[in-house]
Symmetry: C2
Subunit: 253 residues, 2 copies
DNA sequence: CGTATTCTTGATGGACATCAAGATACGTGG
DNA sequence: CCACGTATCTTGATGTCCATCAAGAATACG
């Protein structure tokens, strides 16, 4: 028996079928009864609280996880103890695929706020995928997108200035946080400045300074973790390096 | 008809079955006749010469490609024209998976030396994978490994010093260039210093200087593109940052 | 051979890190 | 509700690693 979520009590028995975010999560194209069967294999555990670890780097890979709600960061730890955040994940994003090849999770994933994830054991995934080709396509698409995103980050870390990195980061967050693909004006960042800096290969002071500068140039309004994009075009121009930098607020008026 | 390589002439009709590197390439576990059928779908074209482009960023995604022999670099181009190398590929490495989600290749791949690649159209892949589960597993493993490798690069670019990056790069090349998993002492780098620098988020002068320094410290012997690792332990220590830097050859003896 | 490309080496500069300290927000218990 | 301690964020002064600029040396190549 592969399908094994029946026996265990104490887990929230919310079904994917009734989940409002279903269409971002379980692949489209499943027929009604197929959907039902896949849905039955997905476990919904108690949500994780801020700071709780969802996967630990090095732990045995067992399951793919889809973020249902909340916000997650993932980071690798190098041999000398340095941490590098490799991704932020929100509703619909998939955790754990890096474990498929090695059998161990490749990073530690940690909830940045109260977060619930839907878990599908890889065993069950394999069972599904052999019956429903659309599941296969879903995972390939997911992984392909992760590869693209990481390559974009390589470009950011390898070639872009601190200001460009911040601009791209904000635009990306704004876009991902809107349900649709269009960026929204005001976002509430769930992560600290330290996390942002770490993700972008900078230090916290640099992030702080640049946010201040972008505000002084009327491109952003920064209120702690709430950021409003006041001039999308100029922010995009900075991200693309298609203009000179914005003015470096020395003894400004 | 999915299988379509019969009609076309002018392609080298080398069969995977007879390929010495087969076990690094087509997935193990295929039965004899399965192997035969998969093999028939794989096209072997005329090799690419140095500088020729194998895929162009933005072109329509049609096929997965496995490097049979030779050496390939791939790079993205940002909106302002900056290039960032995102990977080097050698025998057995797979190109093109990033195109699965978008339908377009995500980078330009270019031969660094005479290179032959084996091409499997994604259509045919899907046909295979639905019949031979081991093919599915093969692609998932491949993509999972690419994700891991890119995340390691994120750590390099985000947190490591120039010297650490070079050390890690050389160790990685040495390991990958040996048929087995153990590093070999002498490697011949197929890429220029400029490419190395670009890949590592540095400039060519920095790479040159650091190689010189590593040589002065008896860790390497550098002869143009031929590099011998004389002290693997110290090189590893530098890569891991588990010692202080090696001596910065000021007016040295 | 002569020209181009790649690689090395030196001198100088700048972007971002580090060090230091104050300001603001946050949580907790009285 | 306020007092107090702590974590987060901001701002300034200084330092450093690596980029930039410049030019020579070694190799490749027609």
């Amino acid at each position: 028996m592969l399908i094994d979520n029946k026996g265990s009590s104490r887990q929230l028995v919310e079904k994917c079928i009734t989940c409002p975010g279903m269409r971002h999560c379980l692949p489209h194209g499943l027929k009604g009864n197929e959907m039902e069967r896949v849905s039955d294999m997905v476990k919904h555990r108690r949500p994780f609280q801020r700071g709780e670890q969802i996967t630990m780097m090095g732990d045995e890979f067992t399951s793919l996880m889809v973020v249902h709600s909340g916000f997650v960061k993932s980071y690798k730890v190098s041999r000398d103890g340095e941490q590098q955040i490799v991704g932020f994940y929100m509703s619909g994003d998939v955790l754990g695929v890096e474990g498929i090849s090695t059998g161990n999770y490749g990073y530690t994933a940690e909830a940045l706020e109260t977060t619930s994830v839907c878990t599908l054991s890889f065993r069950n995934y394999e069972y599904c995928s052999s019956h429903f080709p659309v599941m296969q396509k879903w995972l390939l698409n997911t992984m392909s997108r992760q590869i693209i995103d990481e390559q974009k980050m390589l470009l950011m870390l390898g070639k872009m200035s601190a200001e460009q990195r911040i601009a791209n980061f904000l635009l990306d967050m704004s876009r991902r946080m809107s349900a649709s693909g269009t960026s929204i004006q005001t976002i509430r960042l769930p992560m600290s400045r330290i996390d942002i800096a770490n993700y972008l290969g900078l230090v916290v002071e640099t992030v702080s300074r640049l946010l201040t500068r972008l505000q002084a140039n009327d491109i952003l309004i920064v209120k702690r973790r709430v950021i409003s994009i006041m001039d999308l075009n100029r922010l995009q121009a900075i991200a693309d390096n298609s203009i000179e930098d914005c003015h470096p607020l020395h003894h400004a008026a």
